[in-house]
Symmetry: D2
Subunit: 398 residues, 4 copies
């Protein structure tokens, strides 16, 4: 394999995989069934095991209590964690917290780091990210309605957001709001930290998504900001830099997501193969004897391999040349891998037959909760348009 991993990392990946198979897979069904809050004791126990093994927060610097792995190393780990719906949480590497950690690490003030980041990395608190609005397309982050008006040493935030994921039970929130309404398109918005107990912050409810309202980390909230006053020291990064920070957050975020999706693909692939060899369709023959199933297995193998190479190549480009030069690749993997993910899940379900639609495998969970992968962080259509425009602009220049 050309995107070589060091022997050390290889060993780590093997160990983590083994831990997941032995300790985590057996508990994922119970966690999903109970719901996040009731399952917290189980999750805490698993988190403690991870901490003891020295694998906590692999992407965070050692000084904050993480493993201090590089971007490319964490990408590999993210794939392994993705093989179970609770993998990232158990390693304290779950969205949206990990994105917030990365943002604060790079752009947070010393105080912000002490107050928020340290406890976040420790796993003491959770956070959320409040960008999408019900009345504005998530695909157009330059067009938002929420405002944060400067009032001496404070900002007064007003607005309505939804899909503020994991808000339920979170301690703070990073909100995107227009601070410079007359600024140019990409310079209007800023990111602001809002404590959830701020009286101007209103938690409306967890939105029912795919049949579940969910709870705790596993939920998507609708929230409101009603003359919500925060000190200007809660500005994250510079004023007007909200869009830039959001982009900055999304680049590595998409690598994390994509690697997680590949992890899901591998688990689904494994389940599909196991089912194929174990399920008899007549007393003499099993599903693996069916050429249609064989085709799916070969095609899924091809697709997953392609997905991984694409993501690693993109991660490598980000690492070498920076996000800006890799922006086409980042857009491409977003739609390319999300579509492979859903195709692999669909086929794994079909191979499982009736069992595939039950909650006795994680497939039905992913079928529901990964359908949004083609929508969030920019729907397929928006990424295709973006990639194509940049390609064609080079032709137009000639």
């Amino acid at each position: 394999m050309s995107f070589q991993v060091s022997e050390e990392l290889d060993q780590l990946l093997t160990n983590i995989k083994l831990f997941l198979v032995q300790e985590v897979y057996p508990k994922e069904k119970e966690v999903i069934e109970k719901g996040f809050n009731s399952a917290l004791p189980i999750l805490e126990e698993l988190r403690n095991m991870v901490k003891k093994k020295g694998w906590w927060a692999p992407a965070m610097p050692k000084e904050y209590g993480g493993m201090g792995l590089s971007f490319l190393e964490f990408a590999r780990i993210s794939e392994i964690l993705g093989t179970t719906p609770i993998g990232h949480y158990i390693f304290n590497s779950q969205a949206p917290d990990i994105g917030n950690m990365e943002l604060m690490l790079e752009f947070g003030t010393k105080d912000q780091k002490e107050k928020y980041l340290r406890r976040l990395v420790n796993g003491e608190i959770r956070s959320c990210f409040s960008m999408v609005e019900p009345d504005r397309p998530g695909s157009n982050p330059t067009w938002i309605e929420t405002t944060a008006q400067r009032d001496r040493d404070n900002y007064i935030i007003n607005g309505h957001k939804w899909f503020t994921s994991s808000a339920d039970g979170a301690t703070f929130n990073i909100v995107m709001a227009v601070t410079n309404p007359n600024g140019e398109k990409h310079k209007k918005a800023s990111m602001l930290i809002v404590d959830m107990d701020n009286p101007g912050f209103e938690f409306i409810k967890n939105i029912p998504v795919m049949g579940e309202e969910g709870e705790g980390w596993m939920s998507h909230a609708e929230v409101k900001y009603n003359d919500c006053q925060i000190p200007i020291t809660n500005l994250l990064g510079a004023e007007g830099e909200g869009f830039a920070l959001a982009q900055h957050r999304l680049g590595p975020g998409r690598i994390h997501h994509c690697m997680r999706w590949i992890g899901i693909c591998e688990r689904a692939f494994d389940l599909m193969c196991k089912r194929a060899v174990s399920r008899r369709i007549t007393p003499e023959a099993n599903l693996a004897s069916q050429q249609t199933v064989m085709n799916w297995i070969a095609e899924c193998r091809a697709d997953i391999n392609a997905a991984r190479l694409m993501v690693l190549d993109t991660a490598n480009k980000i690492d070498t040349h920076g996000q800006y030069k890799a922006r086409d690749d980042i857009s491409i993997i977003k739609f390319f891998v999300a579509n492979i993910l859903l195709k692999v899940l669909d086929r794994a379900i079909q191979v499982h037959g009736a069992l595939g639609v039950t909650d006795y495998t994680p497939l039905s969970y992913w079928y529901r909760h990964e359908r949004p992968s083609r929508i969030y962080d920019g729907p397929d259509e928006v990424h295709k348009r973006a990639v194509s425009r940049r390609i064609l602009s080079k032709y137009n220049d000639n």
Copy 2:
């Protein structure tokens, strides 16, 4: 349109559609949220409205309290009812009850009709159909494990079933069991009526499907038959005719399902178009301005039209030449329409963006609960194989 409907039927369809839009659509979300049992008062009220309008049980004979519509007439109504998840229930035409009604109407003894059918058509009781087994592929109905051993005037049933849909709260059950283990492949099994309060019948639980255990009519049970004794008078049809009856049940059943799916498609299509014209993606442009969305609308329109023509043509063939001669067409529409259904739903969700994965439209309900359409009543692969074998056998004969 070449599959002409009479002016009278056309008027009826229009009236029913209007009723659904005005009275039922506004309540579907509440019903799904509350769950079947809690929503019963709402459902009962709607059922009473339907009765008052004289639209009750449209496919059942007038002597049993139905409308006495023909097979082809009901197919049209089934499409309209399919536009809401609770349409068929409100008209007492829901699976699995309607299939059981059809079976009993044709094959039931006078006593069976009096004891079960009449109350079923009246809507006093519910029923279920117990065929699929967890350890045997649903795709091979000639290979089942459950047995019904003759013991003088009784049968003693033993076996393990799942996806006995709507068992929760049902009054009786039609179970498929092997009565003639030494009979030829298609003559081994029989259908037997089992009262749910039979001490040998064990309701294990509702299987969690796509994140929900469901309840009442909206559930899929795992059940067991433990030396379950029933009188031989509870045999439905002749001994050894279980497979034949199942096929008989499935033919019209597939028409009902397919027309229901087309109804879902039409609703999803309508929601997609409404969303396209109402959702702005910039202050100046709405989604309908996007060629990708236009492509989907045109392609969905084409696919839905094709689906309807295929199903009506098949229904017509069943009506004219009988199920046997139409068996290829029945297999074809099963996989053809189910795939169109899922494609249309997927696109409608994508056009809705984040809203599409919430439970604020019926799309997410159908996305979850119609995924099985490609699995139950024979997965795509089995139907394709069956159709192809018959076609190729003609070539082999030459």
Copy 3:
């Protein structure tokens, strides 16, 4: 089948099919290999056989020497003729002549009919249709460059056209040219009859298409009009009505094309099935034992059935309500059937293996010469846009 054909037509279809199988299929390879001009004696002999059988020009009125069949009857015959690349020619129902016949029959003056139509229907001469221009998109027929300037009793035509199919050897041409440059968009152009021996008409060359320049009827010419003077009596229809006439020509034309494509599909399907049962892949097994091949056969059967129902339904609508009301259906079948055609051909080739890419079956001919089906008469994309816009306009009006 719900789109019933009369017993008489059914018999005719059977007879024609038998004739094609026995007399025409065996000669199609030779005709294609030799090229149109060298193959003329063979074609003439076959045409004479058709005349003797009384099947000549089935869509033309009896007074002109045709069979006088209705639009819907001819649609059925068109399917049968489509099963061989030379079927339509042998029955004098080939594009572009049949389109020209239909136009002249409805809009030609008495003189035009005598001079051109009668000889065309007799099969004495051939014609062509000159609309598409190399520098203007064929998908936008309201934007053409060729002009026809009125000069007393004449028009002076200037312009450059290509894909003037079958111009090589034709006697006359119907050209689309702008006569009213200041007219509104759809009223600028007119149709004009140009004799090919007009000194202002320049035949440049047959365009090499898919590796062949072709010749005679089987060719696509590039032509020029250099101050080409024609009498005003050669105006076909009214001045400024060119676009309307073109639309008028296209409606039934698309039915003819679609039914022809379905004929191709049926032949390809038949070849695929024959190959599947006859080709051994090991000493013991043939291709028909492969589930992938089975899937293709079932899916192609489904697609072809759907295609036929869609086209017949559309033809029926045109017949009942006129072209205008059926224009969405006409657009839909154009892209729906063309895509099925190419998919069926592709799969039939794959089943044939190496044989499939040789010229020993008609598949390779169709693979090459029907690829344009997704382009001519409006590419898929244009039809999808048109259908979608009309659908969405109804939503916008609300």
Copy 4:
């Protein structure tokens, strides 16, 4: 890019690409139109230019007059050469000659190398490879009919082959024939060198493929071996090793083909983009403004990138671990890249509209002559089956 190329190779690739654009692209249409034999002077001139530049036979060792590039280096060059239909020929790296060169280089005797290989690498002669038989599936190379019977110091070959590509004008042939009919399945056949002027060798004809018989290097012959006597010194490799050698030939051969296909994809992609920005569809808008075209460009970019990464990764594995360990990857890229190739070509044609089906771009040539890519060297279906079986066998072992 993670599959780094050296600066030196990078410069070479740039120079070759420039040469192709300036000197070769302008002549490709003429070569294809004239046919191979008439175009030989043009091709010879271009070959001489390549020799002068020191780029001759890049994959061959310097001692034979080649550039002595490594397998991975040549893979990169193969992509560039693939951008024109005559690229590989001009660099004397065309199939089937390059495969024969590789075989002889590794398995040829000293005499065979002197007599055949040296002249082949020099470009003095051409060769062919005779494996596929009309009556046996090419997908099953262990089941062939042609025999080579030992008769003292000779073999007597009898058999019937087709798709002996480039036989027309070749000097020698490597034929696959059964020498050990009682050997085990993979040990029956051997490879034998046959001079084309051997009286027992019969050139029947060039098979018409996709409308063309072709000639010279650009042709596919049907041939016969009639008691064709050759000395045993013409055995290539050991007796019974024919299958092993064929596999050996195919591994790198598939890399060459895949990289060539990617070259075709890149050229088609480039043509598609150029067309998109240059073709106006209204006086105001060009094709590039159409979202459908944008989607295709983004999707093609994603697919081509994925294809290249997959092939380079596989080449890397072959290089590092040998063909055997990379056999799944080799099978995967065979079907994965061939399907991308045909999809990209199809879309590029669609974007070109009518121009796309003419021979004015190389697209129509590739559309016809690369359709076999999904068939030769093992059809998609065979590779999928092979990959899947190996994957599932690991699950069965558990």
